[in-house]
């Protein structure tokens, strides 16, 4: 249902935008001056843009269900292929950033929870606030400046090998890291007060043992939920980092589509991204239930 409404929206949005798409295509390929009205009309008919919108929508929807989103106006390649390629790149970028953020935030959140209200906790809170308040489009150029231009350790842009992935992933990971840490801290504080942990401690387990056996498993599941939400949003939302580091991911693709008024590309990428967000949210709910036997049992009965 959601996907249907969004597909209508995605289909219509480019048509509301100002400017004749046919002229935009021509402008993107040749100088506009040389084009007469007849050529414009011919191109319009060949693209099927002269038909009524509803007919266009039905045709587009039928093809889209079969995985065919038409051809990009700008590069003349099939939209599905472009999206697929960009998607893989964005997926790599987002998952490396998020996994790094996850690995750092779990111990960080645990330490903050154990030292609740003390100096270590306040330092962690302060650091997470800094991570949230620092714009990506500031961290990225500063990172390039330090690691690429001054130190020369990492390449400043592009998407070729492992080393070119490090800086963008790092920049992208800070904000989710802050949110993961906060969620982890809150969850761990709850767990530390829970009766089963007190019981574990009274059985003679050390704090470390008790957390390793009982604490982590119970406090990680909310982090997983947040992880999935970030996954969904980073697959398109890493746009700014992708533009700065010239990484050909989905965000970059959509940006180019919007700037170049490439209608099939805009429609296709928008629908794919929304579909993906819906799928990820659903999968998260399932995983959440799998990790949490209490939820599963409550629903099973």
């Amino acid at each position: 249902m959601t996907i249907f409404i969004v597909s209508v929206l995605a289909f219509l949005v480019p048509y509301i935008t100002e400017g004749d798409p046919v002229r935009a295509i021509i402008r993107s390929r040749v100088a506009e001056l040389a084009i007469d009205q007849e050529t414009v009309d011919r191109l319009r008919i060949s693209l099927g843009l002269d038909r009524p919108l509803v007919v266009q929508y039905m045709g587009w929807l039928k093809n889209a269900v079969e995985g065919d989103f038409g051809y990009s106006y700008m590069s003349r390649q099939p939209v599905a292929g472009l999206i697929g390629r960009a998607f893989l790149i964005s997926l790599t970028l987002a998952s490396s950033a998020l996994i790094f953020a996850f690995l750092v935030s779990i111990p960080l959140g645990t330490i903050a929870a154990l030292r609740e209200g003390k100096l270590a906790d306040n330092i962690v809170i302060f650091v997470t606030q800094c991570f949230v308040a620092a714009p990506e489009y500031w961290l990225a150029p500063v990172g390039i400046l330090i690691f690429a231009l001054y130190l020369g350790w990492l390449p400043s842009a592009g998407w070729r090998d492992m080393s070119s992935m490090i800086l963008p992933s790092l920049v992208l990971s800070l904000r989710p890291m802050a949110y993961f840490t906060r969620v982890m801290r809150a969850a761990m504080i709850d767990v530390l007060r829970a009766p089963y942990l007190v019981a574990a401690r009274s059985r003679g387990l050390s704090v470390v043992q008790a957390i390793a056996r009982h604490g982590l498993r119970n406090s990680i599941s909310p982090v997983i939920t947040v992880f999935a939400m970030w996954m969904a949003s980073l697959l398109g939302g890493s746009l700014i980092v992708e533009v700065i580091f010239s990484i050909p991911g989905t965000g970059r693709l959509m940006y180019d589509a919007v700037v170049g008024r490439d209608i099939p590309l805009m429609q296709g990428s928008f629908v794919c991204l929304v579909g993906l967000a819906v799928i990820i949210t659903t999968v998260t709910d399932v995983v959440y239930v799998l990790l949490n036997p209490t939820v599963r049992l409550a629903h099973g009965r």
Binding site: Q129, E136, Y137
Partner: protein, 299 residues
């Protein structure tokens, strides 16, 4: 109510009655300052300084922010140009002062708009229930799970880039968390006895909302507003950075940063300073929100 007034009177009875009146204003002020967390005051002081500097920009700034001097391009910082000059020889410090006016006002407008729409939608959703509640919450869930910069970008494509568009585009997703918070708070307040009493007395819905629900929900919402301000500031800046927000010849901090990206090696300060300004502004407002929240919990 009467009991608390009586206790206040009893507590003040040992003071001379005429003298008590004058310092009581001061006393209230002192108590107001002391009961807030110091983190909040740190935020207030920093953001206050920034806002004063931005308001006073036309009188404080040493140069015209748009005045070009191509003979003095990309100058390093000096006594004449505190932050140096940009690629067109414009004074970076003056441009920062004027650019901040756009950044902060756009972010402020976005937060205010998001809060108003979100709170209205949330309260309506909670009080009305049923189908409307279902629809509003579905929209909120969808907006929360979707990258807002993409939605904003599409809206900008529809409406054309600009100052006002940026506000509308970010508000489009920005109201959702406020709606969810307001809905939760309303459901909780709704269950309290005084709302029941008001309903039994036959008060109108509007009266209950404005008299009981909004005053009781306002503090958590304000705290969240402060906490979201930094996020809005940065997201609006993101649009500007991509060239979809504030348009030249005007510039905000993010678009200044974007323009200076190509010269980052020759004049790193031109990139570092606008970003730092965004960072400090966002952080100080976050502290205000945190201070409010801390106090809310200790009560």
């Amino acid at each position: 109510m009467a009991a608390s007034q009586a206790s206040v009177r009893a507590a003040m009875s040992h003071l001379p009655s005429e003298a008590a009146r004058v310092p009581s204003v001061l006393l209230v002020l002192v108590r107001f300052v002391r009961t807030r967390h110091w983190v909040m005051w740190l935020g207030v002081v920093i953001i206050g300084t920034i806002v004063i500097a931005l308001v006073a920009a036309p009188w404080v700034s040493p140069y015209d922010p748009a005045a070009q001097n191509l003979l003095q391009r990309l100058q390093p910082p000096s006594a004449a140009h505190w932050f140096g000059t940009d690629h067109l020889g414009r004074d970076a410090f003056s441009r920062m002062l004027f650019g901040g006016r756009f950044s902060v006002t756009v972010a402020f407008a976005t937060v205010m708009l998001s809060v108003s729409i979100g709170v209205l939608a949330g309260i309506l959703s909670a009080r009305q229930g049923g189908l409307l509640d279902e629809i509003i919450m579905r929209i909120v869930d969808f907006l929360l799970s979707f990258p807002e910069i993409i939605v904003a970008m599409f809206l900008v494509a529809v409406l054309g880039p600009g100052y006002a568009t940026a506000v509308v585009a970010i508000t489009m997703c920005g109201w959702a968390p406020f709606a969810r918070l307001a809905r939760g708070l309303t459901l909780e307040i709704n269950a309290r006895d005084y709302v029941r009493a008001a309903e039994i007395l036959g008060c109108t819905r509007r009266f209950i909302i404005f008299r009981h629900i909004i005053p009781n929900a306002i503090r958590p919402i304000a705290a969240m507003g402060f906490l979201r301000f930094g996020h809005m500031l940065i997201t609006v800046g993101g649009l500007s950075f991509l060239g979809l927000g504030v348009q030249p010849p005007n510039a905000d901090w993010a678009s200044m940063l974007a323009q200076s990206m190509d010269y980052v090696e020759r004049a790193p300060l031109l990139v570092v300073m606008p970003g730092l300004a965004l960072f400090v502004t966002a952080l100080s407002v976050t502290w205000i929100g945190q201070g409010l929240e801390l106090r809310g919990k200790s009560e």
